[in-house]
């Protein structure tokens, strides 16, 4: 029997933190947040009463649409903080009426045709790992019902072009299956977002996902060679081209459209050779700004390391990597073609010129990385204790970075206090680095009032988002917009672009059924 995903938290049913990880987490909440661990039983599907579906599948789509309760629960939420609070509170008021599980493009098109006629909202669903409210069928009363359109049956790598190093891949396939299918060909997509295990190619493209590479080709945008999508108005397929200057890029309109313009069914993706040569080093810096200056020097040197991540003193301390005395910088190069010694040597030189202390033991980096990958499993334990914890991320040009960081930290720290009366913790890292600026990622934890978690979270989220937009950042570098970020996305987006996008949507989705409330208007 296939493993089932939890409908209320991260990962598969009956998986979670190890005993040791749980202990570490509990120590953290006791010592840093003053919270006493409590155990709470997770919700069971059988406990939850769902409203009767407001719409019924037409006979021709009976094999595609289901009202099975577990499926409806699984498709109610992504993995944002407030969604997890509501899931654990057994609140599934916005469950989709039906879940579509199409296996062919014809079935996708038929589902959209029916939904358009019946004024049913359609929410495309990949892995459901959205942390921004991108997949919740919270579509209001303007619709007869809501269908979550799960693409998991589009799960194959269809074709590998070894000459051009590209593969035609269906959108509903998750990260590990992509890599497993490419490995026998000697290739890899090497796109590893934190959600890699549970997110899909289509989800990555729809949300402009960022991978693990810290520089160069890391945004999924650059890895897409061509795209195929189904909109209510029909199918659209771009040509496979290594580059083109023929009008505005069709792909770049669909990339980042978050299901509002149509459903991605497959893509030709650019592949990498599997790395054979590596170089790694870890450096300590007295503070985050010193580390940032070193990062900037490497980012502007044209060396393109695969890793160039910084975690600040607070994050290093909170993850138990050190005792808060250093910011850590992880540098790595990889290549499928050539030794990377010359690249490493110059980057190490730049690090040391910038005041970095090279670590002999590189274990700090892997300790942090493991903690990072496992982190999402913690929330189902901490929410019942009344912990508010979340992350937000942005990008900013280097000239503004220090003032920006100060303003965002100050607003967030104030907001934690205002919302909860407690100081909590706030830490920062860089996830990606460009020659003109870093992608900055913030993590906060605070003791909340278990009866007011969403209200308190909303205050913190609002203050932090207001601050980062006021200081010139983007509301998201790679988490996407979803429903949660719409107010700030509208503030950030040029007004006229919003109007152009709404007009484009109307051409593709005349009945306005595609993921309403997200991206457009």
């Amino acid at each position: 029997m296939a493993k089932r995903l939890k409908f209320y938290g991260w990962g598969y049913e009956n998986t979670g933190l190890t005993d040791a990880e749980r202990e570490h987490l509990f120590r953290f909440v006791v010592n840093h947040l003053g919270v006493e661990p409590v155990a709470a039983p997770p919700p069971q599907a059988s406990d939850i009463a769902l409203r009767a579906p407001r719409v019924a599948a037409p006979p021709s789509l009976a094999h595609v649409l289901t009202s099975e309760p577990y499926e409806r629960l699984l498709h109610t939420y992504g993995k944002s903080y407030p969604e997890t609070v509501r899931a654990l509170a057994r609140d599934f008021a916005n469950a989709p009426d039906l879940v579509a599980l199409p296996a062919t493009e014809a079935e996708v098109a038929a589902a959209l045709d029916w939904a358009g006629g019946a004024k049913v909202a359609v929410i495309p669903f990949g892995g459901g790992s959205s942390v921004v409210g991108g997949v919740e069928p919270a579509v209001g009363d303007g619709y007869a019902g809501a269908v979550s359109l799960d693409m998991r049956r589009f799960g194959q790598v269809l074709e590998v072009d070894a000459t051009s190093r590209a593969a035609r891949i269906q959108s509903g396939i998750r990260g590990p299956a992509i890599e497993a299918a490419l490995k026998p060909h000697g290739f890899a997509l090497r796109h590893y977002p934190q959600s890699f295990e549970f997110s899909t190619l289509g989800g990555w493209i729809a949300t402009r996902s960022g991978g693990h590479f810290a520089t160069l080709y890391t945004h999924i945008d650059d890895l897409v060679e061509s795209l195929r999508t189904i909109s209510p108005a029909g199918a659209m397929e771009s040509r496979r081209l290594p580059g083109s200057g023929a009008g505005p890029s069709p792909d770049r309109m669909m990339i980042g459209s978050e299901g509002a313009l149509g459903v991605i069914t497959e893509a030709w993706m650019r592949l990498q050779g599997r790395p054979r040569f590596r170089g790694d080093a870890v450096f300590g810096f007295p503070d985050f700004f010193a580390a940032a200056r070193a990062v900037r020097a490497v980012a502007q040197a044209g060396l393109y390391p695969s890793n160039l991540r910084v975690i600040d003193n607070d994050e290093a301390g909170a993850y138990g990597v050190n005792a808060y005395e250093e910011s850590l910088l992880v540098l790595a190069f990889e290549s499928a073609d050539h030794p990377v010694d010359a690249w490493m040597a110059r980057a190490v030189e730049l690090m040391q010129n910038s005041g970095g202390r090279r670590h002999v033991d590189e274990g700090a980096a892997s300790r942090w990385r493991t903690a990072f990958i496992r982190m999402p499993y913690g929330r189902e334990l901490t929410v019942p204790m009344g912990v508010i914890n979340d992350t937000f991320e942005t990008a900013i040009t280097w000239d503004k970075f220090e003032a920006f960081h100060g303003a965002v930290r100050k607003a967030t720290e104030e907001a934690l206090k205002e919302a909860t009366g407690h100081a909590g913790t706030l830490s920062t890292r860089f996830t990606h680095v460009y020659p003109d600026g870093p992608a900055v990622y913030y993590t906060f934890n605070v003791r909340g009032d278990p009866t007011r978690l969403i209200e308190q979270w909303t205050h913190i989220k609002t203050r932090a988002s207001d601050a980062l937009i006021a200081a010139g950042g983007t509301i998201t570098h790679h988490h996407a917009v979803g429903r949660d970020h719409m107010p700030w996305y509208r503030a950030q987006r040029p007004d006229l672009f919003g109007k152009a996008l709404a007009a484009a949507k109307h051409a593709l989705d005349p009945a306005g059924i595609m993921n309403p409330g997200v991206i457009v208007p």
Copy 2:
């Protein structure tokens, strides 16, 4: 007195080929095309009778709009082959009624307001170096008149952010002035299309220009950090961000819009350090496909050379670089930060593994390069002799490349013969190379009938364009769409994307006055 541009050919008045270059060109047309050189006096502005302007500037725009005959002549044509034929034939029937020379965004907006009300078409004009009919006011009878909107007064680098390595640059500035303004800051944009001396930043962005870098950041798309545009519906400005995942990219809708959605007024552009370290090598290969395999190996190795260009045996021979016995490959690395020896060593190894013979004398590359840069000056001499010569360019994935190249060459060679009865010459090079495929550039020359040049050219252009679209390529990798490529652009573009783009245009340009006939519909 400022130098004036020729209104009928390349460059400034009273400039052209040197005596030696002219001799070389004449030898080429005699030996290869069987054409006898004839001299023809260039047109004089005073010889040409322009129709009276069909519209008059309103008093409030009298200082912005001019009907001065030289300006109207200069703004009638870009630099395509058929445009040059018509210019030399003194045919300026489509001259704009007026030329706008705004100095401020308010003047741009006022000109668009007036034009919208008066149903006057507006054709944004940068350097006028379009080779695809992008700037000719050939707008048909649906408009009361046509205005060419020349952005040359937007000629400044306004701001340099040395920390983020970016500069705010007005759109009407030409290449040399950009580099001159950045040099004192130690930076360079390093975007060198062939037209560099006579084309503008705004033109590059509007047409998705390709620079001289053969790999990595060469398309202008990647160098744009943010954009400011004026459309009939208003102004639009994107945030300066090093990266973002907030919805579809606003910049990517305007980049490549060729004036059909609005006028670019300024952009924040990503800069480079000025190179201090270089490595160069030239290799000979027995044929083009052998060279292509070497190029592919280097393109897929993650080395990112600044140059990785191939010219085939025909082009090397025709340019007098060798006696047709080899395809030439030019390899170069550059860096502002570090010696490039390790990069060169590996690339040289890959070249030699692929059968490349390294040249001791690297002069072949610079002989070819000089000939390439100077080539556009030749056409005003060869057209009066009845020579048809033009270039077209595309991109294709590696898996299809050899069959594609065969099909395109065959169709073009047949078309030369069908159109003129003569074989002519056809040669090929790569201008840019991606891991998944090359950008392929074709040059043809043939003896035509001086009374039927445009008809003969149209046959050749049509056959070649049909072939490259049928074989899977793009109608343009960096020359843009203009009016000349619209039929094939429509064939290549997903239909629904065309509809979405038309809807977006209607939102930005409700009266449909912006560069009608280009990109939309």
